[in-house]
């Protein structure tokens, strides 16, 4: 269905090709997962399938990409719209119309299909993706998971043979991600669609894949093989695979269910609990929110929430979208005035703090780290951070080097990789050395190595006495880094306790290792490795 024949892509002004000599054949009806680190050329590879690379992005394409018999060199993206459906990383940015039904019809209108055909296909697609209740809704009112399904539906109505998805679940909470993946699964099974999907969160998708296209980046050859074969040797692997490798299981399990079967022997040999990690939590209270109520009109975002943060403690804040996580972060930083209740940051009310005073009390890395950045180069950004915080010159740059290693300081902050941009925002915030650090969804678009580095940095900060509150959907990250987990639902705290106790038995928040070794309270591969002989 998709043929890559010695494909080499070089962008204008680039020294080396992003992809070199890629040859692979994705057969019809397969769900092929594209796996690779950040900046390895995954998105470029996806772009070549419908000709966006190079027709839209520029650059030079060597070799040949053929989709359903059409050569992308002679067919610009619009002439491939009836065979390839593409959904980008941010689905809302690709919406052209303003209601769900119109959006579903848009591609068909461009293709010039007959009105009765369009009507029928829209109805089919609404049912197929479970969107029937949303048909009249304005696109701006959709939640992340709904928007993602509408975006998939909007390309599906053209009855393409190939669906290309770039990180369809990375911005979604676990439940919404399940919805989207179930829909994709149905498309592959019922319609025989060929799906090419890139995703960082392998723990969510690897069990659905028929094959994996491994893009190592850095000019190394691309490989197409079965998921088990690639996972056996890939440096990027979900926890279930890492555990399987560590325990030497053969065949290597890819799903929690297979792993649980393989783990029967292992579970018997493990001690009833992993050795307790030394906690860095101190006794000083860094932040107190007591009986905080936040309401926006008739919507109650927080209903009397009590949260304590101790110095040196890492707390994960979990809950579905709209549960009140962002409101809590906003209250703690003084961006939102609580309707009632009080907030104290080491004795100070964040509402009364301004400018330099505020940033030396609390730091927040927002969901889109780019919001914090406004200079033309990374070096300027660091210098500005030093000035804002009245820190010694070079503080921010030194922090950045510690967090992210070598970053080209002359680059524009928008041109560095996702992980480096997060590191830059973190460095900017940490320049003022706030005793309380808040992070909102820090792992969007981060690959496993970047996440591991983030975990290392956060643990280091906690050891230095910083209180860290981390709002996240990423259960694996929360398991790795947090001492304590708070779960919010409908603006109320429904669980607050040691992470090990809170997440072990939750079907939604349990990390893969906990699911495999249930009921033993092991959360991460490191926990298991520590007790394995």
């Amino acid at each position: 269905m998709i043929d890559f024949d010695h494909v080499t892509v070089t962008y204008t002004d680039a020294l080396a090709p992003v992809l070199s000599d890629v040859t692979a054949h994705v057969p019809e009806g397969e769900l092929c997962l594209v796996v690779g680190g950040t900046g390895s050329g995954k998105s470029t590879l996806l772009g070549t399938v419908n000709g966006l690379v190079p027709h839209f992005t520029g650059g030079r394409l060597g070799g040949r990409v053929t989709v359903a018999g059409r050569d992308t060199r002679d067919h610009p993206p619009r002439e491939l719209a009836d065979v390839v459906g593409v959904v980008g990383q941010n689905p809302t940015a690709g919406f052209v119309t303003d209601t769900v039904e119109d959006e579903l019809a848009y591609t068909m209108e461009s293709l010039g299909l007959a009105p009765d055909v369009m009507r029928r296909r829209v109805e089919d697609t609404l049912d197929l993706l479970g969107l029937a209740d949303l048909r009249d809704r304005s696109l701006s009112t959709l939640s992340g998971g709904e928007a993602q399904r509408v975006a998939i539906g909007s390309v599906l109505t053209a009855h393409p043979k190939v669906l290309v998805l770039d990180e369809p679940t990375s911005a979604l909470d676990p439940a919404a991600a399940e919805d989207v993946l179930a829909a994709i699964q149905r498309l592959v099974h019922d319609l025989g669609l060929t799906v090419l999907m890139a995703e960082h969160r392998l723990e969510r998708v690897i069990q659905y894949a028929d094959s994996v296209l491994w893009v190592p980046g850095g000019g190394a050859p691309v490989e197409l093989d079965s998921p088990a074969a690639i996972m056996a040797r890939s440096p990027i692997a979900p926890p279930v695979v890492q555990l399987g490798r560590a325990a030497g299981w053969d065949p290597l399990p890819l799903t929690v269910r297979d792993a649980r079967r393989a783990a029967r022997g292992l579970a018997g040999t493990l001690p009833p609990a992993p050795p307790a990690a030394p906690s860095t939590a101190g006794d000083d209270l860094a932040a107190i929110a007591s009986a905080v109520v936040v309401r926006y009109g008739s919507v109650v975002a927080l209903r009397g929430v009590d949260v304590l943060l101790r110095a040196g403690e890492v707390v994960a804040l979990m809950g579905r979208n709209g549960a009140g996580k962002s409101s809590l972060l906003r209250v703690l930083t003084g961006l939102t005035r609580p309707t009632s209740g009080s907030v104290s940051l080491g004795g100070a009310d964040p509402r009364t703090l301004k400018g330099r005073e505020l940033i030396t009390h609390v730091g927040l890395v927002p969901q889109q780290p780019g919001d914090l950045l406004y200079c033309e180069t990374v070096a300027d950004e660091c210098a500005a951070a030093d000035r804002d915080a009245a820190a010694v010159e070079g503080t921010a740059a030194a922090l950045l080097a510690r967090i992210a290693g070598d970053v080209d300081l002359s680059l524009h902050p928008r041109d560095v990789s996702e992980g480096q941009r997060l590191a830059l925002a973190l460095a900017v915030v940490l320049t003022a050395a706030p005793p309380v650090l808040l992070l909102d969804e820090p792992t969007r678009g981060l690959d496993y190595p970047a996440k591991a580095r983030l975990v290392h940095v956060l643990r280091g900060l906690a050891a230095g006495g910083t209180a860290i509150l981390l709002a996240t959907h990423d259960v694996e990250l929360a398991a790795e880094v947090s001492d304590r987990t708070i779960v919010l639902a409908d603006g109320e705290v429904v669980a607050d306790g040691q992470s090990r106790e809170v997440v072990t038995h939750s079907p939604v928040f349990a990390p893969q290792v906990a699911k495999i070794l249930q009921p033993l309270p092991y959360l991460t591969v490191a926990d298991v490795l520590a007790v394995l002989p």
Partner: protein, 370 residues
């Protein structure tokens, strides 16, 4: 047969007569609203102006949709009231002195002779207050009519009925309409982030910190929108040559331009009205003909196009009846401004204005929420 059963039989009959719930063609609502707005422009009779606003309000209350913008009438009505207050206040302070019944006298300032006609303070007459109130009210009713049109049919739906030749313009309008709220949202977000960087969010320095990330994000959004449109077949099979496209676009815009100028002269109601009518008719015909010819060759199709049936004709006819009333002199506005007297009810135009409220019953009801 008891009275109640006769009554229920009657309601049953009435219900059968009513068309099935569906959304009325947005064009019909906008024509109807334009007719009301035009009528408001042609009168300064306070009772009639208020009647027009009430007529629009009744129809909106019965036939508006469920979307968020369906509150447009109420919002714009409030804006209209502010307009009235401002107009009257300005007239009191610096308006032209109108002779008549003095209500009270404000301390006045003598203005230099080259500002002849204007005054600052001085005696305030009832006529002055009344006439400025009428002028303000006229503007308020005009705004309310616009609000009614928005509440009944969102402009985005209006864009959908543009002729295929103007398709690109329509896409641009819809994109712009969704772009503005997104921009506002990203300004709020970036302002919060900049505050958390300990940076000023006001003044010139603050502006830079906010504008740069917001504009960068807008640019990125625009690029991904373009990529998405390209991969979804936008601009495919454009069949026509660039020259023929340019010719049709020019003719179409010329036609629409003529129609706009014509409308302006008709409303202006001066001695050029005949020319205005000719321009309006000729321009509309030209635009329609070009649009139809070009539209038949674009290779695009329309999903669930809005239908134009009997209810649409009736709604337009109601609007036209009101507009005709005010065109042919029945508008009861004395040429020298309103006298200082209790406004009298001009029965015939009043009754004819009420015809404008009929769409509240004859337009098909809005489909129920699912």
């Amino acid at each position: 047969m008891t009275l109640t059963s006769a009554e229920s039989g009657l309601t049953q009959r009435l219900r059968e007569l009513q068309p099935l719930p569906r959304l009325l063609h947005p064009g019909a609502w906008w024509v109807w609203a334009l007719c009301l707005a035009y009528s408001a422009m042609r009168t300064s009779d306070l009772v009639l102006l208020l009647t027009i606003a009430a007529v629009a309000g009744v129809v909106v209350s019965q036939r508006r949709g469920r979307a968020p913008w369906a509150n447009a009438y109420g919002l714009l009505l409030k804006l209209g009231l502010v307009t009235v207050a401002v107009t009257v206040l300005l007239q009191l302070l610096i308006g032209v002195r109108v002779p008549g019944h003095t209500l009270f006298t404000l301390p006045s300032v003598d203005l230099p002779h080259w500002l002849q006609g204007l005054s600052l303070g001085g005696p305030i007459t009832g006529e002055a207050v009344l006439n400025s109130f009428a002028a303000g009210l006229r503007l308020a009713v005009l705004i309310a009519c616009f609000g009614a049109a928005n509440a009944l049919a969102h402009p985005a739906r209006l864009v959908r009925i543009l002729p295929a030749a103007l398709y690109e313009v329509g896409v641009a309008i819809v994109v712009a309409m969704t772009f503005v709220p997104q921009l506002a949202e990203s300004v709020v977000r970036v302002r919060a982030a900049q505050r958390l960087r300990g940076r000023p969010i006001t003044g010139l320095r603050g502006l830079r910190g906010i504008a740069v990330p917001v504009l960068e994000e807008a640019l990125e959004r625009a690029i991904s929108l373009a990529a998405s449109m390209d991969s979804r077949g936008y601009g495919r099979r454009a069949g026509r040559s660039a020259v023929s496209r340019r010719v049709t676009n020019t003719l179409l815009l010329a036609g629409l331009g003529c129609a706009v100028v014509g409308t302006y002269q008709v409303i202006g109601g001066t001695d050029t009205r005949t020319l205005g009518v000719v321009l309006l008719v000729a321009g509309t015909l030209l635009a329609l003909a070009t649009g139809f010819l070009a539209g038949s060759r674009t290779g695009r199709t329309r999903y669930r196009p809005d239908r134009w049936g009997l209810p649409e004709w009736l709604v337009v006819a109601c609007g036209a009846a009101v507009a005709a009333t005010y065109t042919f002199g029945l508008h009861g506005a004395p040429p020298g401004g309103l006298p200082w007297a209790w406004p009298a009810l001009d029965t015939l135009p009043f009754m004819l204005t009420l015809v404008g409220a009929l769409p509240a019953a004859i337009a098909p009801p809005v489909p129920a929420a699912r």
